[in-house]
Symmetry: C2
Subunit: 297 residues, 2 copies
Amino acid sequence: PDDRYPSRFGSEVLITRRLDPVVWGSASDGPLSEMELNFYTDNGYLHFDDLLTPEEVDTCLQELQRLRTDETIKHAEEAVIEPGSRELRSLFAVHRSSAVLKRLANHPKLVAIARQLLGSEVYIHQSRINYKGGFRGKEFYWHSDFETWHVEDGIPAMRMVSCSIALTANTPYNGPLMIIPGSHQRYVSCVGATPENHYKASLKQQDIGVPDDVSLSQLVQDFGITAPTGLAGSVTFFECNVMHGSNSNITPLPRSNVFLVFNSVDNTPVAPFCGLPPRPPFIAEREDFTPVGPARA
Amino acid sequence: PDDRYPSRFGSEVLITRRLDPVVWGSASDGPLSEMELNFYTDNGYLHFDDLLTPEEVDTCLQELQRLRTDETIKHAEEAVIEPGSRELRSLFAVHRSSAVLKRLANHPKLVAIARQLLGSEVYIHQSRINYKGGFRGKEFYWHSDFETWHVEDGIPAMRMVSCSIALTANTPYNGPLMIIPGSHQRYVSCVGATPENHYKASLKQQDIGVPDDVSLSQLVQDFGITAPTGLAGSVTFFECNVMHGSNSNITPLPRSNVFLVFNSVDNTPVAPFCGLPPRPPFIAEREDFTPVGPARA
């Protein structure tokens, strides 16, 4: 099919306009109000302080601790290990391996928001837990998730939304998610070609598929930076093409979250636009598009 | 003389009480009020948004740009170069080499505050400009300046104050100075022995003379973290023993500042308490204790 969002074709950098709607549903679908949908259209994210109950958050946190301290999990292909400390940094496909997190991926409140934003039934394209330790937590450089999901996974359109559920407090000091609000309205193509098996390196440190300095400066000059913070249990939905990243964390306060990526069932992947074999299914679903959440009335 | 603040003697970690006053002068000395002095006693820092005029700030900023782009300066021993980019990261002893920054080090407003806090005439123990670039600016791990100045430079007592003059905006996002307010009331001894010529490595990345994880967690639990932010020209005075550090900076916004360390003329250095030769004079003054600022009435 047509590559409407070309990237990584040589040395050309280009900032182009987004070609897809931001909100695919409408206020009448609920639960989000017109005002909330407008905020999302303009800024590319929505933040909620208490969508989940304290019990739900606590259950997830306990599950996170269990997964982190399970030595066998560190050897799984779904695990990303911190180079220095041998600690678990991320674990993928947790909506498959963990009953607790499968329940979270099907949470009626989360799924209802994803359905409304994407205007259809939704399935999980990717899920993971992230554990950013204190003291020596590393930065995540700026990127648009969609750029990678399009180029490396073959997702055709910007009809996806990520959902980050904080399991520890996000403060201004412990390397919170930073967002360039409004940047989802533009598409920043990146330079360089995709290497084979790029995901193995890029999960630790990404250097292909990241925007150049000039484009980033332009975005920040036009839109600024924001960082939604909140206690454990706060939830941030952010649009698949919004530019985001995070600084390092030298505070003693770790930053852990569950990350769920919802995709529309009408936007399932085709062959990757970089021409290489697709990433493995635990990183990017390409077979099982079963909708999540309660059956629709 | 007596080592009242032992550190780096083997593997023992100890948090002890501060043995010196925090404020050595009094409110009647001016310009700081009783309330400001109390804030400094409790928190170990004071932040001012507009102590300097925009013209003064602009002059310093131009001087910074001049120094940064002077290729000969990068080869000076006073220069610290960013390992990757070969860019200037810090330049020491700028109150000697630059007429503009010498004037700043003698600024009546800055010196008056330093005199009041230290209760005496003051001289410059160390001065430098710091340039933390955007995109790939590195973190500075937590440390007490006094720990190093005591162990490696032989400063006997906690009667010093640092003054950081922002030459670019400090935002919550570009790796601002983080302070553990109140931590100056305790002394965290560090493990490990000081290697010879430690300053050559420690200016790039410090691993000796940094607090252990348990001590840091204790301090943050007891005192929390704060990060004074402000526009270019804002000034932060912070006590020599307050624990501070900064995260990385992936934003396009560089963070530049001038850093002046005032010491009391009654607290001049003796032989370093680590038993090694002292650091070079461009990092730690040990000969010229001429007071800065206008002559006292």
